[in-house]
Symmetry: C2
Subunit: 417 residues, 2 copies
């Protein structure tokens, strides 16, 4: 029986075939995201992977249903596997906003699901690092969030040579659109033309803009002028004070496809342009009110960073080659009569927090040693006749020592730090 | 909009209300499970939460469908949210068994789903620590797995006073059943009577046993005799060599409800008997062959430990009270003109791996300090006029120092270790 198309299995390294996904690399990503979010004072939350369908249609309209894993559950409820985290976050924050001090800085690492019929070979699930700041409208919040995005990528080994945050704002485009006296009801249509600017031919774009009473030329003037709005200038100043200027560039071509963004928008790109966007986000100051049915009304902004493009990029840069965490010590059992005492030694090592492997069943000494090498352990240990005496071999420093078990543990712990 | 019944939101601590679930406690569980599994040389894997329905009906029969979240996807595939991990593990291990050295020691922490119509108020999802050893039939593998189970619970702060592993074997009951010359086709029916022994009245049990040509008296003789099978004796000896005897007791009342267990079975219980089983598992030597359609044939055993009962138990014992990980340092901004330089300091602290918070927008000094105290930080830090001079306050030791930023970072890092 095969797994479903568009879904992934995660295997421990070394991977049997190159098309498989590594559980070690995934853990490395998740741990890095969690660690950096913690440095920034972001707290973790999570919600159910299955939610009422209405939560997603309220936000995105009924068109989204075509892209969802949705069904009727046995209690006749219309439900869907979450395609994104923001509606769940809005629901959760609205339910308990009084109990958390503002601004709320939260993150999550949900698995998200989309059923897209046409895209053969494309994934139907991915994991996404989501970080949001709720209850603060000032650009200082935008800067804090963007700094977290930058540092999450830096912590994975990427540098200013590798990626850049393209910073933009819908405000600038709103202002332009209003000043051009175009039809106010077609503003979002206009945003979508800007969003597709880099993917469509100039002729096509120009025709669509002319239908709105605008032109490609005028749009390109706005992009070329690149004057930051006041809000964006304050974000840039804040990031400069943090020493992060090299990682950001104003770029009005970024406008984001989704309807609900209200101001600042941004995307993270690899600078060589080999991959799709690594992350994207922005302000959605009206969404919590909409999703909470008016129960709550807080400005908010957030970003999402998926694991798929990021893993491709990190693999390409050779930054995921050493994520496997194998055992540190291998306990050799030279004679079967020593097995009970060796089991006691293994337990002692593990109790001390050390990752320790050994042959579960009788195996020749040289095969055990070979196995230890395959596992890439730093140390082998074995009983040395007298109770509590062990021979510790440091495979890296090529050194043998005969010690008491407790001393051996200290040596190994020192080497681990 | 409410979340679906039977699903949980996970909030950061302190929790607004007592009926909510803590994301901090969840992280503590997951990290502990991962850490201990690592010590034992178990490697992490994961599969899709959505699988072909057939994967589960092959193992458990079509009766299971009534308890699943199953539906037809947009490609007309019959699919289901996974109710357990073993079928996925069997599929994955069978697909690449040649590439991994036996015994395969793998673990996962999947979220699992069950739709049970009748059980109001009961959860429809939970997380489960799954650990399995594949490709080794000797009792040494059983002991290694049970030791991992014991140490996972010990690492959470539980002691031999708190829990016990009740060890049993279907072999003993198979032997008894065969020697009683009962109807061989009704053996599994007999196992189910034994499984329900503690939950039903003696009269009811006796009646059901008599229908099989047996009696409660004879069954209770087997339980009272408590002679371990050879296989169980070797497990007990192995655990004794590890010093884990206090955590295990032979108990033939344990037989496990599922059809596919073949030999050793065990459950972890709290010793006061206040909770349902904390964990359960056993040998399933024929299952991989069945689930891989004969492609692979390996002995295997595993256990599952859910997060719900365990969290209840740990809460009751006061072992989840300090799982929240807040920031370590709060950067005070005494004058707004110092904000840019303070942002630089915050960045320096975070770059050094320290969790640092500060007021995103202007706030009075005393309010900032109060906020720092609420967050439970160990240190406050603020610029001290001259560039790179900071005042570091240790709130625990009640000590102030004026230092260079780099020195302050070292002081904080030393305190963190």
């Amino acid at each position: 029986m095969e797994r479903l198309p568009g879904f992934r299995d995660f295997y421990p390294e070394p991977l049997p075939t190159r098309d498989l996904w590594s559980s070690d690399a995934r853990r490395h990503l998740f741990e890095t995201w969690r660690r950096v979010a913690g440095r920034y004072g972001f707290r973790e939350y999570d919600g159910p992977p299955l939610e009422p369908l209405e939560l997603f249609t309220t936000k995105s309209g009924s068109e989204i249903v075509g892209q969802l894993y949705n069904f009727k559950d046995k209690g006749d409820r219309e439900v869907a596997l979450r395609p994104e985290m923001t509606p769940t976050l809005a629901r959760m924050a609205a339910a308990h906003e009084r109990n958390y001090r503002k601004p709320i800085k939260w993150f999550a690492i949900p698995q998200l699901f989309r059923y897209e019929r046409q895209q053969k070979g494309r994934l139907r699930e991915h994991f996404q690092f989501n970080a949001d700041i709720i209850g603060e409208s000032s650009p200082e919040a935008d800067a804090e969030l963007i700094a977290l995005l930058i540092d999450s990528l830096r912590a994975l080994g990427l540098t200013a040579e590798d990626f850049r945050i393209r910073l933009s704002s819908r405000e600038a485009w709103q202002h332009f659109y209003a000043s051009a006296h175009a039809d106010p009801t077609r503003e979002y249509e206009f945003f979508q033309v800007v969003d597709k600017l880099e993917r469509e031919t100039p002729e096509h774009t120009d025709a669509k803009l002319r239908a709105l009473g605008l032109s490609l030329e005028r749009v390109q003037e706005v992009i070329a002028a690149s004057r930051p709005t006041d809000h964006l200038q304050r974000i840039l100043d804040n990031l400069a004070a943090r020493g992060l200027t090299d990682f950001v560039a104003l770029d009005y071509r970024v406008i984001r496809g989704l309807a609900y963004y209200t101001g600042t928008v941004f995307e993270a790109f690899d600078r060589k342009g080999e991959f799709r966007a690594i992350a994207g986000g922005g302000r959605y100051d009206n969404l919590i009110k909409l999703l909470s049915g008016g129960k709550s009304d807080m400005p908010a902004l957030g970003f999402g960073m998926g694991d798929v493009v990021l893993t491709e990029l990190l693999n390409k840069r050779g930054l995921l080659s050493e994520t496997a965490v194998g055992p540190m010590v291998y306990c050799l059992i030279e004679e079967e009569s020593w097995r009970p005492a060796s089991l006691g030694l293994v337990q002692k090592l593990r109790d001390a927090g050390l990752a320790c492997e050994f042959a579960l069943t009788p195996m020749k000494s040289d095969k055990q040693f070979k196995r230890a090498q395959e596992l890439g352990v730093r140390f082998t240990i074995r009983l040395e006749g007298a109770p509590d005496r062990v021979k510790l071999r440091d495979l890296k420093e090529r050194r043998d020592e005969t010690l008491e078990a407790g001393q051996a543990i200290e040596v190994i712990q020192r080497a681990t730090r």
